[in-house]
Subunit: 503 residues, 2 copies
């Protein structure tokens, strides 16, 4: 099919423009001299706008017309099932870009660009009023965007679809409800437990270079291919890819705390394995792209939590860690270390949260986002609602807006619909891991011997290489034989923490 | 003038595409994981081809038609003198790009890309026969390029004009003749001198980190603004710029030799000052670009040789260097160190050559390039001619082709006309420096106190900010009141080395 080849070729060009922009962004966060920011912003904006122009241009539109109904994305029936899927996904990307007028895209881009700066200042100064008009403007623009794109289910579902295609807020509400009903009592029980996990052993001086070395050795064991990747330092850890043969991560090391640097390294490593595992032959096309933000997050959290905070993992790695940090750990038994890294404690800040309470941080954002987008909840009411929900779910009330409603960047870039994918990642990753245990004989034993490549290879075949041939829900159903449910995740949490906290 | 504004705006877009491509290139040479090369080549080629398309597209052509005769570049007479210059220079770039058919550009690009790989293998294997057919093909293509572009003076002058606009091979032949007539006997006299400069003190172990630290401190003193630049390591040192607010250098440190790392750091620093000193308001236009390769080289060599190998400079920096490397230098007096770093000794390899014999390496390449392009000298005769000329000028005969005709990459990328600019840089920099001495009172004294910013500021105003408002020859004439001549450079060499070698 000539049209399909044309589409593949043009999408590859577009992906190369995005890839170049991404390298410029990576450089900005790692090595760029401080004064280079203005010129850099101009270069990135240029590349992104060229990519956008091509996505809505005739190079895509003309061949697309040959294979789909350009009005609604319905594929020609003479295409194979796989090709129908392929062109429908391309049409979705095309349609989303083409439905938005150029001036609107520019206004949104300029507004959110400025709003991110204002947000950073507002958080620093703990000044919600300063940020409010920008947030109002962004909400207006997002409502306009929903109008252009058309409403799916509820208005909020249109935004959700950017990040988690096919997912609905009804479904998330059901899933998160299950989680909340079991998690709030679990956290409460942990709070009342007499067990002291001895977290303070993690809060000593851990030499940064040795932390780095340890993290790198784990990344390599995980199968992160350094021939096609690298790790650098940045203020905020991230994974970025320019092609499956060049997928980079950054991390942040805190010399006075062990867990945050280690967790972020393994977390980003999980994201990177996904990007390295995508099919290079399909580069730039939907089949060479991650399924969704939630599935991406499932891969990072599977490694960070299900592996990186597990007993088998540390059975192998703890002696290595002890030998790197004898001054901190030589007299600490494995069991005590395992408890320390698995401390559950409600905190104000999402990115510092443990694997249990993390989900409650997400739920409150999801509930508020729905109210903001679907019900027009006024911006002025957000701080109080935030604090009330924190108290309801986590039993603590933020001392400041900086530690509350102002803590996250996402709303300032217009990312309504993004947050839920963080918790969905947790819900996806337990059934995926359970399935891996069924299909890989002796997986626990492999993990307990530092042999991580069995798991990585299985994930590559079963998850990474799938690309956008399936939605997240389809993937979970096909892989596990059951539709997505919150039970496996909650079973996992209850089992794990009942043991640790003697519940 | 609306046409001028349109041109400025579109040229800025083109420059941003080149700038993005340059960052991708920088990354490739510094941090890119080894396996990312193929994808990277595709991305760079895409950005360069988009830049080319825009340069020959209507965004340039339409406004250019309003201000010049598009056939010959003659500017409208109602423009100011400066604007006439401006549009004529734009037309030159446009014309050079537009005159070459797309298929030709692609063939040249593919051939030279592959030829560079073959050259690297050929040099490694000392196999000139392997490289020969590629060199022949490239020479054919360069002749075709001359046909497309039209001949100026001799065919070779067309190629020279890429690198040194306005310069002719007749003029270079005259200048290089002057140099040769005085330099060959000077080098011969030095060879016969009884003076031992004690070069071996430089060939001890010098800790790489401390070399780096010393180089950085000199760069900062030179006025290289680290807010708009940075230094990294790479296999071959280079300077690269994405905008005057982001100009980076790389260097290479040899832990068993001091001078090469230091010289390359200061050399690239000189290039970087030029790029940081260009007028940011004119970014992307001829007035925001370096005059020529030769003037660029004059700036690097002025710092590397006229400053970095001078007595006043080391009067200030030598005690610092001694305190960094007491194990090597604490018993070595300044005068002895000064002699060691100014050792003149014929060698096979251009990039290792001292500041005197370097020019003889260039001359032999220039003479051969003229014969190749203007007279059709067969590729099979190059090795013998190379070796004969080395013997004639430098008194040594290369032991292998790898150490002779195969040593430099330039011909493999089609860079005929590039080499002479290296020696022109030397010829330009002495009159420039002599003029600086006249205009900056107490310059020697400043240098002897590590105060390098007076010189840097003067160069910025007098050379860097000029951009392509002048040709190299015009710049030298306007700055010094005299046309370019080889005498100042030869006077400098004879004076300096007569003293060092007691001639």
């Amino acid at each position: 099919m000539q049209a399909l080849e044309q589409l593949k070729k043009e999408l590859r060009v577009i992906a190369n423009l995005h890839g170049a922009a991404s390298l410029l962004h990576w450089d900005q966060e790692t090595y760029m001299p401080a004064g280079g920011g203005d010129a850099r912003a101009e270069q990135i904006a240029l590349l992104e706008s060229l990519a956008h122009e091509r996505l809505v241009g005739d190079g895509i539109k003309a061949p697309l017309r040959d294979v789909v109904n350009i009005g609604n994305g319905e594929p020609n029936k003479d295409l194979s099932d796989e090709s129908q899927r392929f062109v429908r996904e391309i049409w979705k990307d095309y349609h989303r870009a083409a439905a938005l007028p150029g001036e609107f895209v520019e206004e949104l881009s300029k507004t959110t660009s400025r709003a991110q700066q204002v947000w950073a200042e507002s958080r620093k100064e703990n000044d919600y009023i300063k940020f409010s008009p920008w947030l109002e403007k962004i909400i207006q623009l997002k409502n306009k965007e929903i109008e252009y794109l058309g409403q799916k289910g509820s208005p909020y579902d249109t935004l959700l679809d950017f990040y988690e295609p096919g997912m609905t807020s009804v479904e998330i509400t059901r899933l998160f409800g299950e989680v909340r009903d079991r998690l709030v009592p679990l956290v409460q029980k942990i709070k009342n437990s007499k067990v002291n996990t001895g977290q303070e052993i993690l809060k000593q001086k851990y030499d940064a270079d040795r932390q780095w070395e340890f993290g790198l050795s784990v990344l390599k064991d995980m199968g992160y291919d350094m021939n096609y990747g690298r790790q650098d330092r940045s203020a905020h850890p991230f994974t970025i890819n320019f092609h499956p043969t060049d997928v980079r991560i950054t991390t942040r090391i805190d010399e006075n705390e062990f867990l945050s640097g280690f967790s972020s390294t393994v977390h980003e490593g999980g994201h990177a394995l996904y990007e390295q595992g995508l099919g290079a032959d399909w580069f730039g096309t939907p089949f060479g792209e991650a399924i969704s933000f939630g599935i991406h997050e499932s891969q990072s959290r599977l490694w960070e939590n299900l592996v990186g905070l597990s007993k088998p993992f540390w059975k192998h790695y703890y002696p290595k860690l002890q030998s790197l940090f004898p001054e901190n750990l030589k007299d600490v038994p494995l069991d005590q270390f395992y408890k320390a890294i698995n401390t559950i404690k409600p905190t104000f800040i999402r990115v510092d949260a443990d694997e249990a309470t993390y989900n409650l941080h997400i739920m409150l954002r999801f509930e508020m986002e729905k109210l903001i987008i679907n019900e027009g909840l006024p911006v002025s009411e957000l701080p109080r609602m935030w604090d009330d929900k924190m108290e309801e779910y986590l039993g603590i009330r933020p001392d400041t807006n900086a530690n509350g409603v102002l803590q996250d960047v996402h709303w300032s870039f217009g990312g309504f619909g993004y947050f839920p994918t963080y918790a969905l990642g947790n819900l996806y990753n337990v059934p995926i891991m359970n399935q891996a245990r069924k299909e890989i004989s002796g997986l626990e034993d492999q993990l307990a011997h530092g042999k991580l490549l069995g798991l990585q290879g299985w994930l590559k075949t079963k998850v990474h290489e799938v690309g956008r041939r399936k939605t997240a829900s389809e993937l979970i159903l096909d892989l596990t034989g059951s539709p997505l449910s919150a039970s496996p995740f909650m079973d996992y949490l209850e089992n794990k923490f009942s043991e640790i906290y003697n519940l």
